[in-house]
């Protein structure tokens, strides 16, 4: 597991000046935006596209998440899109010709109460009948699968069992973004960095361009794809969103000899962890409760998260935190994303992935590209419309999100 990372390609992207106009302008150069640009080119032959990124490419949430990939969500609609994503993940390194260190090492969701067990079994059964691999493990089976988990009954909230998705795992977030970026760039997509959208140009009921820190850029279609700034952009358009932005913190340890071979998540004690390819433990917890765009949170969250981690993994007790950081997650009322049309013509919206966007990167790009190219949603993102909040047809995935909100 711990061989050194494979070498990277020698050319990734050009640094073009933005042109005066494009058929499609994607606002946000993160994982989802880059995937969207790639699939617009690959699946739909649309290459007159620009990605406008206000900072350094792929420097937002894709650069700072805990890289867990799985598709074990509860409802049919969610299961479908995350499973589509997982299938894309399975062929992605080959398709993009870039070793993204995708490792299907299994994702355990530990359950610590009778109620959680019931909900876990509900999810396992739903996954199975949706064609998604899912197993139920007893506490002893958890121990056999992941020997360093503490299943003692003497702890405050003992492990009562777990769900396991063997096809779940991790990938190296930066490489995924760069792989999509390189491929999109090769198709002729302009990746424009340090270009912040400051306003929109509308004509009648349609958007016709964007104002940016590098000047005005015309656009046949504009696709918003900026996790952490969705509300900021929407406000420029007078569009109200059911989104609240919160810090989500994560941390890494120093490099350690291999000790954890799968991904472990515990909703009840609020910690999830994997050991990356190089050897560092990568760990995340719940969101900080207050709204923030600061990309930092309170240290009490880290204290609590590490206490939880040591209850589950006594072997980590003398490991060290070497870095903490945070992203800005856009949380929606039902912990499900919003991908599709807006009341404004030729303006598309992709946001609200909250704490779970990374795993959806390929499918989000896939369906969003379809939506943009066709002017209507792909069947997989049709249920995730903005208007579901008016009809009440929410898709509540708080349980499967497995991250405290």
């Amino acid at each position: 597991m711990l061989t050194e990372p494979s070498s990277h390609p020698d050319h990734l992207w050009r640094n073009p000046e933005p042109r005066r106009g494009y058929d499609v302008v994607i606002v946000g150069g993160g994982g989802h935006g880059l995937a969207t640009a790639y699939y617009l080119a690959k699946n739909h032959g649309i290459t007159n596209v620009a990605i406008l990124e206000r900072g350094w490419l792929a420097g937002g949430n894709v650069a700072r998440n805990t890289t867990i990939i799985r598709s074990n969500y509860l409802w049919d609609e969610s299961a479908a899109i995350y499973e589509q994503s997982l299938k894309l993940w399975e062929g992605l390194a080959q398709e993009l010709d870039y070793d993204i260190l995708f490792s299907q090492r299994g994702v355990l969701n530990l359950l610590h109460s009778v109620g959680d067990v019931r909900e876990g079994l509900r999810r396992v059964n739903a996954n199975r009948l949706n064609g998604i691999d899912a197993e139920w493990l007893s506490a002893e089976e958890v121990k056999a699968y992941c020997p360093i988990v503490n299943i003692s009954e003497d702890v405050r909230y003992p492990v009562l069992g777990a769900t396991l998705q063997r096809r779940g795992g991790i990938a190296k977030h930066d490489y995924v973004a760069w792989a999509y970026a390189r491929a999109a760039d090769a198709f002729g997509v302009d990746l424009v960095q340090n270009c912040e959208v400051t306003g929109f140009e509308l004509s009648g009921r349609s958007v016709t361009g964007v104002q940016t820190s590098l000047g005005r850029i015309g656009a046949g279609k504009v696709a918003l794809c900026a996790a952490g700034h969705s509300s900021v952009l929407a406000a420029m358009l007078g569009l109200e969103l059911p989104i609240q932005s919160h810090p989500l913190q994560a941390l890494v340890s120093e490099l350690l000899e291999p000790v954890l071979e799968c991904v472990v998540m515990s909703n009840a004690v609020h910690v999830y962890v994997s050991q990356a390819h190089k050897g560092e433990l990568v760990m995340g917890a719940g969101i900080d409760p207050y709204n923030s765009y600061a990309q930092r949170g309170s240290p009490q969250v880290i204290e609590y998260q590490l206490a939880a981690a040591l209850e589950l993994f006594p072997i980590f007790s003398r490991a060290h935190v070497i870095r903490t950081w945070a992203g800005i997650v856009d949380v929606s009322p039902d912990a499900s994303p919003i991908v599709g049309l807006t009341p404004i013509e030729n303006l598309y919206l992709n946001c609200g992935w909250g704490t779970g966007g990374f795993k959806a990167t390929p499918a989000s790009g896939w369906v969003y590209a379809h939506t943009i190219a066709n002017g209507s949603p792909h069947p997989l993102n049709a249920p995730f419309s903005l208007d579901r909040f008016s009809t009440g047809a929410l898709i509540d995935e708080h349980g499967a999100a497995a991250v405290a909100h």
């Binding site: 050319h11 990734l12 209850e311």
Partner: protein, 860 residues
């Protein structure tokens, strides 16, 4: 090699230690690094990717090479490990070992407030601390080293810092914390620091009115070919080893510098008779182009094509002010051309940076970011020693099109090691700038984040381990349950008895027996954990009506009524019983897990929306112990305990409240039931709880009264179709879904009502509460099983609901379940299927009630 005299080590206290199992000796006051150098052991480990021999490079926390494992603790820096008796350390090739340990080390936390927190006890820090102390401020002065004094500890002769420290010690309001590394500065001057103590570590959390950062500056390396051999060290570090530890890394030195700070090193080496073969000064146009060496380290340098032999090379490329804490809290940096370093610019109002950390030092320095390669090969020009990253890697990164230092960091992994690039970052920025035609200041640094140094997981967790991980809540009757061998389950933070096995009964047998007792004789359950909210005031009724789905206008004093709460989105959120105790005085119960949320909900509406309502809510959950006496013989028990109270059903009807007293214990009796049997809930002030329980057990003994727990409770209520919030509901279920339209008032508004009219919320085919009877009365459906309309066990198959509760029933002598089923009420009588891993279970859909539909037993 150890010098015969000098240094601050205590030669009177020799210390035995091992390194890679080799027994060695040092002195008290040594670090592992100084002791290894004293023993002429220059190769500490090998580098992570290239496997090159590496030795100690620095004398401090910025050490990138000398990584060691000490017992269970991985990836410590030898420069930070204090020599203690019996120390055993091993060199690490870039990765450590995580180990379970029972070494009993203590990790605790301290919280402190002060007017002034000073980080760094060098000359500027100690002076700032003294100034504050003399103003009468409470002062905390922290320093990472085992001795205060900062750079003065590396001087040959005494400095004024020692006397400043002596003065500080005389102030009672000054706290001096050595061995304490400030690692995280957060908003509004919250500083986190790790103190190393003999028996473990202590996490300090200090809230200071003012923070003074006197954190000094780190020396930078120079970047040239083969600059990583053992024996290549920072010049200032050599001076520290020389003057503080009386250790010199070799016998023949070369100094390679671009600034005048190395003049003092030259003088100090001369003073102890160490030969300095050459001083190569970039300001004079001279550079070291390459080094030579073998497995044991450097043997010479190449200058202008000529070889100069040496066994250690002291390098100095200038100084980087240590701005990490300042930057963590949002301080901005600017590049200073004179210093060739980043210095603090704008920052928070109450954070001051002083001394070298602020760029307050004199230096004559010539920026010398990269010594060109003779042959165009940069694969041995090391920038990040810990990550084995070279200039060749940087060139490749830039060649891809990357321009941002953040991209280069991620592509090459520079700065991602446990040293977080303390000796690499600025060189990286400058070289990236050179390669991309940007000035250093324009390239900037990557983001500084806490912690400044690696911090142990155990330290952050502190004492919140085991039983202290989360509070344990128990009822007044808990000792009885423990004494009678109850099995417990966690319900939120509470420990509730799950069942009371007799003898070696299985859980299944115990639950069947307890259910039988409750339905045929008398059972008793501790229900103290349910939330209780006291609601008083002239507008109490108004509050209830606005929040519950049903109205309470017609609830007389002395009676109870079940109530349901929805959130604004119309989804069921909690339920309970509202008791009308007196004029303008109600008490509402909640679920055990929902108590806090419900009270918070009431308060939110009262304080933020309905501020004109005159009503007060108080949590009284812990004030009352509550005991449910349940079953057809329960009346006998009540009559025995409360002879003064009329207990026939006309005098004490269903839902009535009565006051009573038994053996001096005041009790309020409520004729409410969660089992559907004749039942009474007895409430008494908490301190009487255990005594009352024992009286109940005594009165029930002739009837073989059986205590029962949550398992039996679940079965009994399910036989009646009573929901459990969080089991039959999951935040997406409305009252109508549960078949509870009867409790949704048509007349008054309540929070959530409007939401019930939305298109999706009012669909006819939503998931609805139904009962299920497996065709095989002995087969139990698993809770969580999905339901289908066809007997098909693999996709594609449409799922139409799931099993929420499922039990074996003593009363029905068969299994049964509750479920949420799409358009369930239209499917009564139909067959549905639960496809399981290995089989499919068929069940008939029924009304969600299985016992005493007419409520004859309840009302008896």
């Amino acid at each position: 090699m150890r010098l015969a005299s000098g240094g601050r080590i205590d030669r009177g206290r020799p210390i035995a230690f091992t390194f890679n199992d080799v027994p060695l000796e040092g002195f008290a006051g040594d670090t592992l690094a100084s002791a290894l150098l004293a023993n002429d052991l220059r190769v500490v480990t090998h580098s992570i990717t290239r496997g090159r021999p590496r030795g100690t490079f620095t004398a401090g926390i910025e050490e990138p090479n000398a990584l060691v494992q000490v017992g269970p603790e991985p990836m410590l820096r030898a420069t930070q490990v204090e020599l203690v008796d019996g120390l055993g350390a091993t060199g690490l090739k870039g990765r450590g070992r995580a180990m379970v340990t029972g070494d009993g080390a203590r990790f605790d936390k301290r919280y402190a407030h002060c007017e002034v927190l000073v980080v760094g006890a060098g000359s500027h820090g100690t002076q700032a601390a003294l100034d504050a102390a003399m103003r009468g401020d409470r002062v905390i002065l922290m320093d990472e080293q085992n001795e205060m004094g900062g750079r003065s500890l590396s001087e040959r002769s005494a400095t004024s810092t020692a006397s400043t420290l002596a003065s500080l010690r005389s102030f009672t309001e000054v706290q001096l914390l050595s061995r304490t590394t400030a690692f995280g500065l957060y908003e509004q001057n919250l500083m986190l620091a790790a103190e190393r103590r003999p028996d473990g570590q202590r996490l300090w959390q200090v809230r200071a009115k003012r923070v003074v950062l006197a954190t000094g500056a780190h020396e930078r390396p120079l970047v040239f070919a083969n600059n990583d051999r053992p024996g290549v060290m920072l010049a200032g570090a050599v001076r520290t080893y020389l003057n503080r530890y009386a250790v010199v890394p070799g016998r023949r030195a070369v100094i390679f510098t671009n600034n005048d700070s190395t003049d003092r090193l030259l003088a100090d080496l001369g003073a102890v008779g160490i030969e300095v073969a050459a001083v190569i000064d970039a300001r004079a146009g001279e550079v070291v182009g390459d080094t030579e060496g073998d497995e044991r380290g450097i043997t010479g340098v190449i200058v202008g094509g000529q070889r100069i032999g040496c066994d250690f090379l002291c390098v100095s490329g200038g100084f980087n002010p240590t701005v990490h804490l300042f930057s963590q809290v949002g301080g901005r940096l600017r590049y200073d051309e004179r210093l060739t370093g980043f210095v603090p610019d704008e920052g928070p109002a109450n954070v001051t940076v002083v001394g070298r950390a602020a760029g307050d030092f004199k230096i004559s320095v010539q920026p010398t970011w990269l010594i060109p390669s003779a042959d165009g090969d940069y694969s041995n020009h090391f920038i990040d020693l810990e990550r084995d990253v070279t200039v060749a890697d940087l060139r490749r990164a830039v060649g891809t099109g990357m321009r941002s230092v953040e991209h280069v960091k991620r592509y090459t992994t520079i700065g991602t090691g446990s040293d977080q690039g303390k000796t690499a970052g600025i060189n990286e920025a400058a070289i990236v700038g050179t390669l991309t035609g940007q000035p250093v200041g324009g390239v900037g640094t990557t983001t500084y984040r806490p912690p400044y140094v690696p911090v142990s997981f155990s330290l952050m967790a502190g004492r919140n381990r085991g039983d202290l991980f989360d509070p344990i809540r128990i009822t007044a009757i808990h000792p009885w349950h423990v004494a009678h061998r109850a099995r417990f389950e966690n319900v939120g933070q509470w420990k509730r008895p799950s069942y009371f096995p007799r003898g070696d009964e299985s859980m299944e047998a115990a639950v069947l027996r307890e259910c039988r007792a409750a339905r045929e004789g008398v059972g008793v359950m501790d229900v103290s954990t349910l939330g209780k909210i006291d609601i008083q005031g002239p507008d109490a009724l108004t509050l209830l009506n606005r929040l519950y789905t049903n109205a309470f206008d017609t609830l007389p004093v002395g009676m109870c009524r079940y109530g349901l709460l929805c959130r604004a989105d119309g989804m069921v959120f909690d339920d309970g019983v509202v008791m009308h105790l007196a004029q303008d005085h109600y008490l509402a119960t909640t679920t055990t897990g929902g108590a806090a949320a419900v009270l918070d909900w009431f308060e939110e509406w009262l304080q933020t929306e309905w501020t004109d309502l005159r009503v007060r809510c108080t949590s009284v959950t812990d004030h009352w112990a509550a005991i449910a006496v349940v079953g057809p013989r329960s009346r006998d028990v009540i009559a025995a305990l409360f002879p003064e109270t009329a207990v026939d059903t006309r005098a004490f009807p269903f839902l009535a409240i009565r006051e009573g007293e038994t053996r001096g214990i005041p009790v309020r009796l409520h004729r409410i039931t969660f089992s559907g049997e004749l039942a009474y809930e007895l409430w008494t002030p908490n301190w009487y709880g255990l005594a009352l329980w024992e009286l109940v057990m005594e009165a029930g003994k002739p009837l073989d009264i059986a205590p029962y727990g949550t398992e039996a409770m679940h079965v009994l209520r399910a036989e009646k179709g009573y929901i459990i919030v969080g089991q039959e509901t999951d935040g997406t279920i409305t009252p109508q879904d549960l078949g509870m339209s009867w409790i949704v008032s048509k007349k008054k508004d309540f929070v959530g009502k409007r939401s019930l009219r939305r298109p999706d919320t009012s669909r006819a085919d939503r998931r609805q509460l139904v009962g299920l009877l497996p065709l095989d009365g002995g087969e139990r459906l698993p809770e969580g099983a999905q339901l289908t309309l066809e007997p098909r066990n693999q996709p594609p198959v449409e799922m139409v609901g799931h099993v929420t509760s499922s039990y074996r029933s003593a009363a029905l002598d068969r299994t049964f379940a509750l479920a949420l089923l799409k358009a369930g009420r239209d499917r009564i009588g139909q067959t549905v299927y639960a496809p399981l891993q290995d089989r499919i279970v068929a069940a008939t859909v029924t009304e969600p009630i299985f016992w005493d539909r007419e409520n004859i037993r309840r009302d008896s």
